[in-house]
């Protein structure tokens, strides 16, 4: 047997293994705070680890004083969407439903650009979830 065949076979197995394991979806950051059932119900079952429009839900926090915060991540960029009862925050929200104002911010790292289309799509997804919950509650 040729002496290079053995190590070449090991290299082949390692190469295939590296490719297969390297193509796994990136691990979701471990859930560092448990999203409350109220927040999950308000957001129509949205959970940490879900992917929405290509973004991963890194965390859901709240409700705290009625506000729920959803952290989204894509690669190294993160930002948050917050949902507050309409009228509870003085600023005009970029989107709202009958009962809730939806804001975004907390962009990380500092100065990172979130594509406007992505922000719009995630705000719209949040609004859709809230409207569904509102309809069901009526």
């Amino acid at each position: 047997m040729r002496p290079w065949l053995g190590p070449a076979a090991v290299a082949l197995v390692c190469g295939v293994g590296t490719m297969v394991l390297g193509l796994r979806p990136p691990p979701i950051e471990p859930e560092r705070a448990v999203a409350s059932e109220d927040a999950i119900a308000l957001l129509d079952g949205l959970r940490v680890g879900d992917r929405v429009k290509g973004w991963t839900v890194l965390g859901i926090d709240g409700p705290r004083d009625g506000t729920v915060r959803i952290d989204y991540g894509h690669g190294d960029v993160r930002f948050s969407i917050t949902v507050s009862p309409l009228g509870s925050v003085p600023d005009n929200p970029p989107m709202h439903t009958d009962l809730y104002a939806i804001y975004y911010g907390h962009v990380h790292p500092d100065g990172a650009k979130i594509p406007p289309a992505a922000v719009k799509a995630l705000l719209a997804d949040t609004a859709r979830r809230l409207k569904k919950t509102e309809r069901e509650e009526r």
Binding site: P3, P7, V10, A11, C14, G22, R32, H108
Partner: protein
Amino acid sequence: MGTRARLSGLLHDRVGLALVLVVYAAIVAWALATDAFLHDEGLLTHLFAAITARDFPAAFFLQKTRPPISAIYAPFAAWGFTPFFVAHAVVGAVGIAMLRSAAIALGHKLPNVVAACVALSPLFVGGAVAGLSNTDAVAGLCAFAWLHAARRRELAAAGLVGALVFVRSELAVLAIVLAARAVLTRRWAVLPALAAFGVAYGLAGAIYHGDLLWQLRFPPALPEAMPGNPYWESHSGRVEVDDFVGTAVAITPLVPVLALVSWRWLNDLERIGIAFVVLFAGALVVLPMWRVFNFDQTPRYLLPVLPFVALAVGRVLERWWAGDVEVRRADTPVLAATAGLALAGALAAPHPTGLAAVGVVALALALARAGRGRVAVTLALALVLLGPMAFDDGAQIDRRSNAPHLTEMIDRLRELPSPPRDVYTNEPLLAVYLDRHDLLPSTRVHYLVQADQSFELDRLANADNGQRDALWAALAHDFYGEPVLPDALRPDAIEDGSIFALRLDARLDLALPPDVWDRHLVELHPGYGTVIARFEEVPR
């Protein structure tokens, strides 16, 4: 001289060493500019050196300060963080050059490969710029190899190892190996050389402490963990295979080459080195299970194996380069077993870096056996070059993995309507990062000294001769910011409206008992790894 010969020359001439050091310096410069490797343990090295500059006897005769390196870095630490970080990286560079000289003296044909293995080790280059004492241990071991091989000063080399034990106590393993060898080969003079620094330091310290047994009364680390410390209660001390594999390739991605080394190819010093590597790695896997001297499974603790791994790797690669490939039956099964270990690690790790490293080494061996030894060495060098970029996962010394919440903490602080005057924090990197990046210049950062930190200093310093008070005085204005001792942290001592920037640490409740503090702290930004809160004098 043809291009091929010139390229070959780079593997052993001084131009090649210069190139290695240029790449090392470029990584250091990038890391300094971005603080990519800002690390609390590196800041601790700076802190020890800074207090040594402020009060030499009190700090030098506290074994915890790693006295030999604190004395060396004291003038640089007194000058500031950047001079200290640069000096620390320069010591690493000197170590690289010394190991190359040792390799030449040992008859290595490709000494720059040995130098590159150390210089481009993801753990080493990151730790060197971070200020970690683990890279001082590596530089010290490079100097040991240089004294032993290039200068033929066996006693001086042993004396150096005796001093290095006071830098990183785990290097006692090498001192034991050298002592055992001295007894077996009847080199009796090595034994007093090993003990020389400890005895001289002990006698000088006895005058300061007024106690001949002061080194036992005030050891370099807590003999056992602080009782009730939740940090240790949450650590099992077991080694996980993915962590072990990640650490191994972060030391050098060429670590699988060790599986191909023959004992016969190594000379005396290299055999001592391999014996040390085996015993040291074994000790650092076992010691954390017993929680002896607060060891845990931190990857950087294993870094001192690097110089001897690099020398052994050099022995294999020089044979490939020369076309002198010995086909041994055991190589393929051993490599396959290594691949199995790497696969087990890859299944649990986010990236299969260990498996990739074994694959490249196996491919290089196949090429060498197929008569393409120079291509094999080139492939191995490519792996070394990729190290700092692709195999740093397991190092866990970069700022992102060491303090993942720091950027968010700073972002949230900067979003406050007006810059806070006083920020209280348990994050050791906050004050330094803000200062180095000119952020929130009007804010005073107060560091909440953790209960276990003050417990350790109180236990390891001598109260009877005034050392303990002298050390706290030396730390009064610079302990990751302005320190607030646990006893001084009371709600009536904090100004209304002060901001608390807290990382969620298992020890936080010891510093801020919830039954006292929760009523005073209004959360402004609840987060997962960090919380920003405003202090209200009147409880809610």
